[in-house]
């Protein structure tokens, strides 16, 4: 099986400097992430704010250089690619469609930017491709000359999707693409993304904090905590039998519309994760309801079992 994308041991630190220019502390935003994803699949990446999932997206998109490690598409490193070539392979869809579209440009120019940057099509051909893509995402022709401010949130996100797909990339990185949208519009966008994936044979990295959405759209799920994947498994397995205590807590905190179940006790402590000060041993142990005394000192290994990955001492013993 060919891997559409492969990420090898990627790290990224941000240094916070004091006024004198000395390094005061380092934020380990992404702290050693490795995964590969087969073509046509959807990897859902879930985690709470500050876990490094958006930084990971930017690293993969080439918007940010990694401190070390690399991301490969078709076996070739994205970091060493020309910007035009990279744009043909991988494209983003961002969270907030009010921030991801330039308010001073018309819809047709926004969607046409990737084509114009390639510089190999005539104006006529570009227009045809733009209109075809807009129609495909459900934006009518007369909206092509509007500005983003004249569109609703859902329409804006459709425009952002059209821009991402106009070059027919292999991989689309969706960074919280529906979390700024209303529930009824979120469903429209999720359905659209699913349809497009099937028709165009796309591979998605789907970043979200909403587990219900990820369960719906992803074929496999990675749970990120303080810069690392602590569990990575096929969606069904992960939801049926979560192995990492953090995954278990996340799943427990999903509030489904079922009355009488009440608010679950997720059992996590108050210690808030701080990426400038990653705990020794297992990085989750200060919040873990099942922590053993070894967890404070021993860094858990990657445990690979039945096609899944877990970083937890408990999983090693079972």
């Amino acid at each position: 099986m060919t891997h559409a994308i492969e990420v090898r041991n990627v790290y990224r630190e941000f240094q916070q400097r004091s006024a004198a220019g000395r390094v005061r502390s380092a934020v380990h935003a992404v702290d050693g992430v490795t995964f590969s994803l087969a073509a046509g699949n959807v990897l859902g990446i879930v985690g709470e704010s500050g876990c490094g999932k958006s930084t990971l997206a930017r690293l993969i998109l080439g918007l940010l250089p990694p401190s070390s490690g690399e991301a490969l598409v078709d076996g070739r490193s994205l970091a060493h690619m020309d910007r035009r070539e990279r744009a043909r392979l991988i494209q983003p869809v961002f969270q907030d469609p009010f921030a991801s579209l330039n308010p001073r440009q018309r819809v047709r120019d926004i969607v046409g930017l990737p084509l114009a940057s390639q510089g190999d099509l005539t104006k006529r051909q570009q227009t045809d491709r733009i209109m075809e893509m807009l129609a495909r995402v459900g934006i009518s022709t007369e909206m092509a000359d509007r500005f983003p401010g004249q569109l609703s949130g859902g329409q804006r996100q459709r425009v952002a999707i059209a821009r991402a797909l106009v070059l027919h990339p292999r991989i689309v990185v969706c960074d919280e693409p529906t979390s700024a949208l209303d529930v009824s519009v979120q469903a429209q966008i999720l359905n659209l993304l699913s349809d497009l994936r099937r028709e165009l044979g796309l591979t998605y990295l789907f970043i979200s904090h909403n587990l219900a959405v990820v369960e719906h759209i992803a074929t496999e799920v990675a749970v990120m905590y303080l810069g690392r994947f602590v569990e990575h498994a096929p969606t069904q397995d992960l939801f049926r039998r979560p192995m990492h205590p953090y995954t278990q807590a996340l799943l427990a905190s999903v509030l489904t519309p079922e009355p009488a179940l009440g608010i679950p006790d997720v059992g996590l402590g108050d210690a808030y994760p701080d990426p400038t000060d990653i705990p020794l041993g297992c990085r989750f142990h200060p919040r873990c309801p099942k922590a053993l005394s070894e967890c404070r000192t021993l860094v858990p290994d990657n445990i690979r079992k039945d096609g899944r990955l877990v970083e937890c001492l408990l999983a090693a013993s079972t």
């Binding site: 930017r58 998109l61 080439g62 918007l63 910007r83 035009r84 990279r86 744009a87 043909r88 991988i90 494209q91 983003p92 961002f94 969270q95 907030d96 009010f98 921030a99 991801s100 579209l101 330039n102 308010p103 001073r104 440009q105 930017l113 990737p114 114009a116 940057s117 390639q118 401010g149 949130g153 952002a160 821009r163």
Partner: protein, 295 residues
């Protein structure tokens, strides 16, 4: 929540209090009038502004005694029509104002955008340049340059243009830093757009409104500085009808013929006031124009 006001054209938004709106309108009309007068100066002037008539020296304006109906604002010490010189003076002031702003704007905006966008060492260098510029005593350097190179319109414009860029740089830098982290910049980079495209097409249009405000303030400053330089005899050379020069030439006669100094002084005051009022109004309108990002 989006307010209904957002969909209105800029000038109809009810964000300015009544007084502010009136002031902005007044400023705008002064500036527009000044431009019209400057452009159509040859058709508006009753006399050649350079033509002397030694028989009619220091004629007072029409509302004073012993005036001539033909010279509405009187004449100067060598009998040139004061109204005509005032009208041509508008040209000089606006020419200096506009060209200085274009020169300093190009320099300041380029430096500011580059510093704000790239950050890090580039930004440190930009900040250093701005600090250096702020440490230069403006008038003294301008005086020295003009004294060394000799005075001409071009020299005045270039000197002022090369000195007045710092506010453009500061504003361009800070606004670029705000825009830089927005997702549409990231999207353009991921789309394979060139650096030039990102800076010119994605960043610049979104900070332009702030720069327009700076431009008005700088223009007013340039006009005042030109007048000051001309007054000191190191600005626009004679016999060009610059307002500053007119004040300088009039200072010997101000005790017996005060209008020769009051008239260009008032003209200068009104024009600079108009530009500043317009600038203030634009700033107030644009301050709330930063797009509502919610609903």
């Amino acid at each position: 929540m989006k307010t209904a006001d957002d969909t209105q054209p800029l000038w109809r938004r009810r964000r300015l209090p009544a007084f502010g709106r009136l002031a902005t309108l007044l400023g705008a009309s002064i500036v527009v009038t000044a431009f019209v007068v400057a452009i159509f100066a040859p058709y508006l002037t009753p006399y050649d502004p350079f033509a002397q008539d030694l028989n009619l020296r220091l004629v007072p304006p029409v509302w004073m005694e012993s005036s001539h109906a033909a010279h509405l604002l009187g004449t100067d010490q060598i009998g040139r029509d004061y109204l005509s010189r005032l009208i041509y003076g508008t040209r000089i002031s606006l020419l200096i104002g506009v060209l200085t702003v274009i020169t300093s704007g190009l320099i300041g905006v380029t430096i500011g955008i580059v510093g704000g966008f790239y950050g890090g060492r580039v930004d440190a260098l930009v900040m250093f340049l701005i600090t250096c510029r702020l440490s230069i005593p403006l008038i003294l350097v301008a005086l020295t340059v003009v004294a060394l190179v000799g005075s001409s319109l071009t020299v005045v414009i270039l000197t002022l243009g090369l000195l007045l860029w710092e506010r453009f740089a500061v504003v361009a830098r800070t606004t670029t830093m705000q825009v830089r982290n927005l997702d549409y910049i990231a999207a353009a980079q991921a789309a394979g757009a060139s650096r030039a495209h990102v800076l010119v097409r994605e960043v610049l249009p979104n900070i332009a409104s702030h720069l327009v405000v700076v431009a008005t303030l700088e223009m007013a400053l340039a006009i005042l500085l030109e007048a000051a330089l001309s007054f000191l005899g190191l600005g626009v050379p004679q016999p060009l009808p610059s307002w500053g020069l007119m004040i300088a030439e009039a200072k010997e006669y101000m005790f017996f013929s005060p209008w020769v100094i009051v008239t260009p002084g008032v003209a200068l005051f009104i024009l600079v006031l108009g530009i500043n009022l317009l600038g203030d109004g634009l700033r107030d309108m644009l301050r709330t124009d930063l797009r509502h990002r919610g609903w």
